[in-house]
């Protein structure tokens, strides 16, 4: 039996009278990416908060690496969260800390790793997102795109096996958004990270789903994805609290469903 990185089974959640999720089920295979799309308020970001345990579902089961987390106590959840990386909307960088302190936060504060080793890891992940020279800057000195990339670096520091992206390109210009998309592709293809990408930027969603990163020496290029690689990224569309579509980019593009057509147009 495949052990999924993340599995939702009939998960429901309502805030007072407003039903956000109704019997939502899906699973994410290891090394794969699931792109969650849907209208504003359809519960996309809520899915990420449920995975992290920041919200508790009213019903159903949530498993991370086979371990049930929906009823877990906060302290036990801290250990589960150590294996997850989250990139929040707008980055959610700590204003009072430098880029170095933000990126190395988890290692500085929650481990006994020696400072030189933490700094080496911070340099490594900042280099990965192309911001190695920004180590001493404050978040207020960064552009929107740089903040998102620092947020990605922060999520990567503890080498998580699963990354959760909450609208990582919203509010960015298309060129900057592309640099963030490239980071997501690199992590999937070169690091084997499983990911859930929540977005309503369809251009970015299809770019991530249809491209792959290829490394030749020190050079990384982004080319149209091979069929095997393309099959590793699936879409999940939410509508009225339920799953309206689940499948590959091609199937989504060629769907005859009027709602999906309207959404994609």
């Amino acid at each position: 039996m495949t052990e999924f990185a993340i599995a939702f089974e009939k998960v429901s959640l309502a805030f007072d009278d407003k039903v956000v999720l109704r019997d939502v089920s899906f699973s994410l295979e290891r090394g794969h990416t699931k792109i969650v799309i849907g209208a504003s308020g359809s519960g996309k970001s809520t899915i990420l908060r449920l995975i992290l345990g920041l919200l508790k579902p009213d019903g159903g089961q949530i498993r991370i690496n086979g371990e049930r987390v929906d009823q877990m106590h906060e302290e036990a959840l801290m250990k589960v969260r150590a294996g997850l990386g989250m990139v929040f909307q707008e980055g959610a960088l700590f204003d009072s800390l430098t880029v170095r302190e933000n990126v190395g936060y988890q290692l500085f504060e929650e481990t006994t790793m020696p400072i030189p080793e933490v700094d080496a890891r911070v340099g490594e992940v900042l280099g990965f997102v192309g911001l190695g020279e920004f180590v001493g800057r404050m978040p207020s000195e960064l552009s929107g795109g740089q903040r998102r990339r620092v947020a990605i670096a922060r999520a990567l520091t503890s080498k998580p096996k699963v990354l959760l992206y909450d609208e990582p390109t919203t509010g960015l210009d298309p060129i900057t958004a592309l640099t963030v998309d490239d980071e997501i592709i690199k992590l999937r293809d070169l690091e084997g990270v499983s990911a859930i990408l929540v977005t309503h930027q369809l251009r970015d969603a299809f770019y991530v789903a249809t491209h792959e990163a290829v490394k030749q020496g020190d050079q990384i290029t982004f080319v149209p994805a091979s069929p095997e690689k393309a099959a590793m990224t699936e879409f999940l569309m939410l509508k009225d609290g339920g799953v309206a579509f689940e499948g590959a980019a091609d199937a989504l593009r060629h769907s005859d469903d009027p709602y999906l057509k309207a959404f994609l147009s």
């Binding site: 992290l52 906060e74 989250m86 929040f88 959610a92 700590f94 988890q106 504060e109 929650e110």
Partner: protein, 256 residues
């Protein structure tokens, strides 16, 4: 009636949530992890950072107290007893309460604004996602620093208040220094000193814990942060006065 029921329910819920937060603080104080560096940072932010406002408040309160009471005491030919009156008022009541109100305005609002901003910009969620308990990292260091720093600031306020009163007594009321300071000592009993030292621990605790509670519960973007700041100061100030009364009553039973 429905409105009243709703209001009561909401108020009770908030009190319940506040006590749940205090329960988490109590647990976090005795179980690891501890964030010692944050505690030291908060000692500086709350203690050293509030020194100027407390020095000014204490000095001017002592000065005006000497001026006002000097004029009244003059009517009874007891001008030389101004030190007695000032010391009893400052040490027992005005020092602790005014220091607490000043700290509430400066620190309580600051904490609510800082934690409120962190809440609405997802920084608190990011902390949790990175495996850090916000109560241990943010609330406990502030509560420890507030509880220990307000008594120290009160002692400073009492001291400069008496110096301010002495300045006025010497320059305006023409009371010589020796009778003034003798009268200061004569006006104080050891129970008064204990009362003046014990109360600020409670006041510091409520100011900071209310600031943290209000900040962490912030909703509604930047407007919510503004609301949280106001609420922290208003609720903190009212609770300071209420707790001052209750602790005074309790200490009267225990000490006197």
């Amino acid at each position: 009636m429905t409105w009243l029921t709703q209001w009561l329910k909401s108020a009770l819920q908030q009190v319940q949530e506040y006590f749940i937060l205090l329960g988490k603080v109590a647990r976090g104080l005795v179980t690891p992890p501890f964030y010692a560096r944050d505690v030291i940072e908060q000692f500086d932010a709350i203690g050293a950072g509030s020194l100027t406002v407390v020095l000014l408040t204490g000095t001017f309160t002592g000065m005006v107290l000497a001026l006002q009471s000097g004029i009244t005491l003059d009517k009874f030919g007891a001008r030389s007893m101004v030190g007695q009156l000032v010391s009893a008022s400052m040490v027992k009541e005005l020092g602790p309460v005014l220091t607490a109100l000043m700290v509430c305005g400066r620190v309580g609002s600051g904490i609510a604004a800082e934690l409120g901003s962190m809440t609405v910009t997802d920084q608190i969620s990011a902390l949790r996602a990175l495996g850090t308990d916000p109560v241990r990292k943010l609330v406990i260091p502030r509560v420890i620093a507030g509880t220990l720093m307000v008594p120290l600031l009160t002692v400073v306020a009492d001291g400069v208040g008496l110096v301010g009163a002495w300045l006025i007594a010497a320059t305006q009321l023409k009371v010589a220094s020796a009778p003034f300071w003798n009268s200061v000592v004569a006006g104080l009993y050891i129970e008064d000193v204990w009362m003046g030292l014990i109360k600020p621990f409670f006041l510091g605790f409520v100011i900071v814990s209310i600031g943290c509670y209000v900040g962490l519960g912030t909703k509604g973007g930047t407007q919510g942060v503004g609301r949280a700041t106001t609420n922290a100061v208003v609720a903190g100030s009212v609770v300071v006065l209420a707790v001052d009364f209750l602790v005074t009553k309790l200490l009267f039973m225990v000490l006197y």
